[in-house]
């Protein structure tokens, strides 16, 4: 998937609908709350995402990331609050919203009994896409699945299914692409491919909204990151800004068999503090996990 191919693909037919965003705001989330029974999945989430941003919502499982995507993609109605995509209210103008978004959910919801081509054809027809045959051919080539066009999705590897899922979301050249945990369970090589793909989208001006609980993923891809914990947005900024807030360096040391973390402003400070610590120590640059730990006292959790 090299960049020239991407650019050619996007220029061949520009996005189908004019952007109707207000003041360059592509996604507006205004005090969204979602309550399931006794659980407050989202608590007054407010967020503005500009056109062309790659925004990452970071947080542990159950923080409300998927709920946010479901509400923005019209799959779930908020208990209170409002949201708009490209200036269209998700509840009042759902069809207008659906016309400009693409969604790759966490579960691979392709029809596994059908072929890759059939999956894309049905999806393209649902979106009333013109020149469908050529578009399907192009997107399958970009996803590196041309030879698999007429194979059943059931026979695809996990990485191929994930690529097809994202390809399907891109078939309509959406203005906003939602990726819910796009690389969960994938091997590092496939993960890199998907990262490259997202970077290429960024260059084409597509707004990307992704969720992840992988720290490196958020740092590698996102222009801005929001940290979600128990339904609340507890931090928001560029990865650099957020890491700056906790100090640029971390001293890890052992105490009573537990790993402790000390946030430091500089490497020198970390060195100085490490003098008094016994046992093995690590001094490293801070990452978003440290931000999360500082704010919540918990780990995001890696797997």
């Amino acid at each position: 998937m090299d960049r020239r191919q991407w650019t050619a693909f996007y220029l061949s037919t520009p996005p189908r609908l004019p952007l109707t965003s207000v003041f360059g705001h592509m996604i507006n989330i205004d005090h969204i709350t979602k309550i399931y029974g006794a659980i407050r999945a989202l608590d007054s989430l407010t967020l503005v995402i500009k056109q062309g941003e790659v925004f990452g919502l970071l947080g542990p499982n159950g923080a409300g990331k998927t709920t946010t995507i479901k509400i923005l993609t019209t799959l779930s109605k908020p208990t209170s609050g409002r949201a708009a995509i490209g200036g269209h209210d998700v509840e009042r103008e759902p069809l207008a919203v659906k016309n400009i978004i693409g969604v790759a959910p966490q579960e691979i919801n392709l029809d596994k009994e059908l072929t890759a081509e059939q999956n894309l054809r049905v999806y393209g027809m649902l979106h009333k896409l013109e020149n469908l045959g050529q578009n399907i051919k192009d997107i399958l080539e970009l996803a590196g699945l041309s030879e698999r066009s007429n194979h059943l999705v059931r026979d695809f590897s996990g990485g191929m299914q994930r690529r097809l899922l994202i390809a399907r979301a891109l078939l309509t050249k959406p203005n906003v692409l939602f990726l819910d945990e796009p690389t969960v369970g994938l091997d590092p090589q496939v993960r890199r491919q998907i990262w490259d793909l997202v970077r290429n989208l960024k260059e084409n001006g597509t707004t990307v909204f992704l969720t992840t609980h992988y720290i490196e993923e958020a740092e590698a891809l996102c222009t801005r990151v929001g940290i979600l914990s128990r339904g609340r947005l507890i931090a928001l900024g560029t990865p650099q800004e957020l890491k700056g807030e906790v100090g640029g360096f971390v001293l890890e040391y052992q105490e009573n068999g537990n790993t402790r973390y000390l946030l430091c402003q500089s490497r020198e400070e970390a060195h100085r503090l490490s003098q008094s610590k016994k046992g093995p120590i690590i001094i490293r640059e801070s990452n978003l996990e440290d931000v999360f730990i500082k704010l919540t006292g918990e780990r995001i959790g890696t797997d």
């Binding site: 479901k70 779930s76 069809l95 959910p105 392709l110 029809d111 009994e113 649902l126």
Partner: protein
Amino acid sequence: MFAFYPVFLREMMLFRKRFLRLGYFFSAMFAPLLYLLAFGLGLGHRVSIAGGSYLDFLLPGLIAMSSMNNSYTWIATSLTVGRLHFRTFQVFIQSPVSPGAIVLGEVLAGMVRGLFASSMIILVGFFLGSGVYFIPLFMPALFLNCFLFASLGVVSGLKAKSHEDTATFSNFFILPMAFFGGTFFPIEEMPRWLQFVIRILPLAHTNKLMRAKCIGSDCLLSLAVLVIFAVIFFVISIYLVRTYSE
């Protein structure tokens, strides 16, 4: 205008895949043929209903029952599994198609399934030398019956909280209706109070129309009952898609 088509097409693609497996075809045809053989052979010689042979009575009943079962089950199962397990239904919700188009596509797919099963029994009937279905209201009744129960399948497929839910609904509603709704014996054989209950259910009216056991306004009433049920289920389906929220 044809916004329903991709929804319908997808179900047909899946249907074709399954249809091409022979085992599936036989299992779909097994139940009606079993009823036909068991009841037809077991009772056929001794029983004659309204001066006609039992086979002539049984065939339209089996067609009504099969069209109901197939239209309903296919769609109820497809939606329940697609919504809860594979989550493919969510693709429709997230696509720019109206709720009406989604429902229509699913209902038409259910009808194809029901009409297919019916045509198989009609074919069997041909070989057995029965010609009972050459009556004017047979086809409209069959189409309405398929439409109605496919719509009910959408309702049940959208409301079910698990796959077991659809099976439970089928056991408590669809199956009793098949047995009491005039498939195997005339409703008139039942106690009067039960007849009253049965006449509220749609399948009894399909059976009546398919056997032309009505004349004039009586026929219209039965047709009206089917149309009303069809409209109610269809409208509820659209409402459920429109208000769909996870």
